[in-house]
Amino acid sequence: MDNKRIISSTAEVFTLSLVLVSVFNLILSGDAEELRKVSQLFALCGEGISFKALAELLALSFGISAVRYVWFSERFFKNMLMVNRITFMLTSVFVMAGISAVIFGWFPADMWQAWLGFVLSFGVGTAVSFGAMTIRIKTESRKYQSRLDIFQNACNGKEDENE
């Protein structure tokens, strides 16, 4: 069951990362030659994503899913506050993505503009994910509450009939 969750989460993160890289590829395709020199992610000059880059993105997606599982699973850190879980999870993901970027040569480690872009895109990505997650949780909670109210009213109705 847990393996399934990690695999499906890896697939989600991997798909999202492919979409993002493809979008960047399209936006930056005008400077393809320049981009190729600084980033291994765009080694094919806007023609697509290389197998090597795909494997790297898949490895990072798996890493993110595993980290997410560790922080959010009930198996570890049972009594940790949710806000702490989210903070630790985001920090772990940020560090992992940063290390991956340096190891895989996604951008030059000594280029501050690249790091600024990385931090900004991570911030935007996190904010969007957090917003989506909050909306999902609120919608789910409303659905649960409404079903519970119906259930409790039905039970009370039965009880009144019996009386």
């Binding site: 649960y144 509450q145 519970l148 259930f151």
Partner: protein, 145 residues
């Protein structure tokens, strides 16, 4: 422990009388088992045994391997195990929320879905209890989701 059985054809309902120096754990367990078979729920508080109505039970929780029954007014201890309580209680009104807790659905005030499938329930008493991911599916089924 001595057991005396007296057969009497004039008795309509079996009757158990316990003669003991004190309400030891052994005696409490014996009484709980007798009441379990009689489909009644009992709890012990300050050395006294109380018969509890199912409707009054808000939840049952395990603390240090001891099981407590929470009502709106008091907390009682029971000698029955959670799985025994689960069998005894009406399935439609109670559900297992996690490995250590059984909850009365009628006494849930509000539900909040949490990240990763867990549910946080606020009970009528204001107590907050978690439904683990493992048991959330059963709860969803119960309330028709």
């Amino acid at each position: 422990m001595k057991i005396h059985i007296i057969r009497d054809e004039n008795v309509n309902e079996p009757e158990i009388t316990v003669v003991c120096r004190e309400l030891s754990d052994e005696v409490k367990r014996l009484l709980a088992a007798a009441e379990y078979s009689d489909n009644k729920l009992t709890g012990v508080k300050d050395g006294q045994i109380y018969i509890l109505q199912h409707n009054d039970v808000i939840y049952m929780d395990t603390v240090d391997k001891r099981i407590f029954i929470y009502t709106s007014k008091d907390v009682y201890e029971t000698q029955l195990r959670l799985y025994e309580l689960e069998k005894q209680l009406p399935q439609s009104d109670f559900f297992r929320a996690n490995k250590s807790c059984i909850i009365g659905i009628r006494h849930i005030r509000s539900i909040r879905a949490d990240i990763d499938g867990r549910l946080l329930l606020t009970m009528d008493t204001g107590d907050k209890l978690w439904v683990s991911r493992q048991y959330a599916a059963e709860f969803r089924k119960k309330i028709g989701m």
